[in-house]
């Protein structure tokens, strides 16, 4: 299959390309990017005039709920929703049931992903057995089976000695450690940002220090062990500053933020809106601005969806008892593009935060249109306005506070491995 994508504004941050030109695809790979390619005859042409052509999105964290929580979502339902939303590769955290702590689970996820035939799924292995924070997982075997890194998902490692061992052992296999920075003692029973709003609502607060204390501890251990580490979903401006400082000091650390943290604050909890119950919590206006600034500067290099689909009932509870998380695959691209209008970030940089940079963090070959790379790419209509509605969501989880938002920029086509897996027309 030979495909020609004609006359689009091609943005490929990894190659510093932003030009109106053609993309030639043959045998599932990028054959060329340029105005002509001698001897190329296309089986299919896609006219991308006035459209953006860029690498498929790489999402650092999307829960697919399979195996184990199929009543919430499945690999088939979520990878399809991802592909339609322009996400061609995604990383799956290990808190499935059973957890991703053996090669068998990775194999199962791979088989179901292939059967579904949509986005690629990369597994992040469990750092400890059953995520219990006590015994090390068999990281050697996990790496062998194809894990792109290890993490203890959203279950913080309380014991610093165990964290040190995890880092040392992961470093042995050159595995990246994905850290969820939350001090569980300081979080205590908290369920939203500690501040004026939590005081008003009488909801137990999660102090900023629950994050900064954990980041400080982990930075010290990263320095000590020399492991490559990535901070997942940071929520405070202070944590972003601490990580920027560590990067300046030469530490191999990266960080990401979930897209919703760049648009929502604790104010959005309003009168106990359980759709805004997320973890880490929505923070203050100052934090949101600080995170946007860190994304603009690149010290927070990636934006992810932090997709957590839930069944309807999971949110139909009083705020604290409601499950945390947002079904977020479908808003990752439009919220990322919106940064261009709202916070002085270039289009190319914004796209880099959801393509080349997360791919680099995962150590996978994706997120670029380099010649020879797998042809995972999307065509976007950047001027199309649309509203998110529950009825039209593709994810099984309809839990999102962005229902009713007017969003700009929509995926027209998605190609994975040179195959058209989604086309709006």
């Amino acid at each position: 299959m030979r495909i020609l994508i004609k006359n689009g504004r091609v943005i490929d941050p990894a190659n510093k390309l932003d030009a109106t030109t053609n993309v030639y695809i043959a045998d599932g790979r990028i054959a060329a990017v340029g105005n002509t390619l001698a001897g190329f005859t296309a089986d299919q042409e896609i006219d991308a005039t006035h459209k953006l052509v860029c690498p498929g999105l790489v999402d650092l964290s999307a829960r697919l709920r399979e195996p184990g929580l199929e009543h919430k979502a499945t690999i088939a339902s979520e990878t399809r929703a991802a592909a339609h939303s322009g996400i061609t590769s995604l990383a799956c955290p290990p808190d499935t049931d059973p957890v991703i702590d053996t090669p068998a689970v990775i194999k199962l996820i791979r088989q179901r992903t292939e059967r579904a035939g949509y986005s690629r799924v990369h597994c992040i292995g469990a750092a400890t057995r059953d995520l219990e924070g006590e015994l090390l997982s068999e990281m050697g075997a996990l790496k062998e089976a194809g894990c792109v890194g290890i993490s203890n998902a959203m279950i913080p490692i309380k014991n610093p000695l165990i964290m040190k061992r995890i880092m040392e052992y992961a470093a042995t296999f050159d595995l990246t450690v994905f850290l969820f920075a939350e001090d569980s003692s300081l979080r205590n029973s908290g369920c939203m940002h500690e501040g004026a709003i939590s005081t008003r609502l009488g909801l137990p607060g999660i102090p900023e220090a629950a994050e900064t204390v954990a980041v400080a501890r982990d930075l010290a251990l990263i320095a000590d062990t020399g492991v490559r580490a990535h901070f997942c979903r940071i929520s405070t401006a202070k944590a972003a500053q601490m990580i920027a400082r560590a990067q300046y000091d030469g530490l191999a650390v990266t960080a990401d933020v979930s897209a919703h943290q760049l648009y929502l604050t604790d104010m959005d909890v309003g009168e106990f809106d359980s759709q805004c119950h997320v973890r880490p919590p929505l923070r203050s206006q100052r934090d949101m601005q600080g995170l946007r600034e860190a994304v603009r500067k690149g010290t927070v290099g990636a934006i992810c969806s932090d997709h957590q689909p839930h069944e309807n009932d999971a949110k139909l509870r009083p705020f604290r008892e409601a499950a945390s998380g947002i079904s977020a695959l479908e808003t990752l691209l439009p919220l990322t593009l919106r940064l261009v209008d709202e916070c002085r970030i270039s289009l190319s940089d914004a796209i880099a935060r959801v393509t080349a940079q997360p791919a680099k963090i995962l150590g996978i070959e994706a997120g670029t249109l380099s010649v020879g790379a797998a042809a995972d790419l999307i065509v976007i209509d950047p001027e199309q306005y649309w509203s998110l509605t529950k009825e039209t969501m593709l994810s099984r989880g309809r839990n999102t506070p962005f229902i009713g938002w007017e969003l700009k920029g929509r995926v027209e086509q998605t190609l994975i491995n040179g195959m058209l897996v989604y086309s709006a027309s």
Partner: protein, 329 residues
Amino acid sequence: MLRTNIQLDSNGRLRHFLTIEGLKRQMLVDILDTAESFAGVVDQRVKKVPLLRGKTVVNLFFEASTRTRTTFELAAKRLSADVLNLNIAASATKKGETLLDTLQNLEAMSCDMFVVRHEESGAAHFIARHVAPHISVINAGDGRHAHPTQAMLDMFTIRQVKGDFYPLKVAIVGDILHSRVARSQIHALTTLGVSEVRVIGPKTLLPKEVESLGVHVYHDLVKGLEDVDVIITLRLQNERMQGAMLPSEHEYFQLYGLTEATLAAAKPDAMVMHPGPINRGVEIESSVADGPQSVILQQVTNGIAVRMAVMSMCMGSHANINHSEGGAA
């Protein structure tokens, strides 16, 4: 984004009573005035008015309570409603039934009003958002969030004793962090326009950015009580020692206990209030609790009239209140 106040109907009348926050001063004054008209009823030989005749009120208590539930029950009965008391305290929820399941089951029994107490902040809002449109919800305490009828009976008591809110300085002493009563009192006092609200306590028992509620913060009891007209002491739960929030009851009493000596710092005619139940010798000395400046029992009495007022207003019948009907019931 424009948010409509879930507590009000399209005519701006009270539909649910969930929190003081967001209600206008006039609404609070209406509640107090209506309560005053009922206070007379309570003193009559026949203590009933027929305002809620034929209506079913369900006391839905997910958390243990005797006093609050009893006064709600009495209030409903004096309004001639049928009352159903349900103490769900974890039993149904332990069987896996969700709050929503419980509600739907009760709705199927055609009730008109839920009086709800729940340990989770926001539970009353949650219920109000999900009940059938003809049902009113009254918050009888949700987590640390709000206890609006308690706050209104305190306001009623303050008005009874002091007359006017504007010149008053009010101090709330103790565990503000965990107190739904304190939050509702603060909103009520600031809405009714008192001259100053102070909160007094150690930093471990004060919520973050509490100043944003419009109060002044004191850590020293005597300084905080200086020149104050109204003192509200809050109950100290025993479990505060466990969470390392306080070293001991002894030290708490030494520093924040209201005694005759510390009371002397306030104005000579300062009134002493407590939402009860009181811990004698922990947050308040017996001689103060039982002393001439204490209005603690008056608060309990007023609870009935205030709850009658809120219930009748929520059922849309506050326009019909007529004293002469009292005897006819």
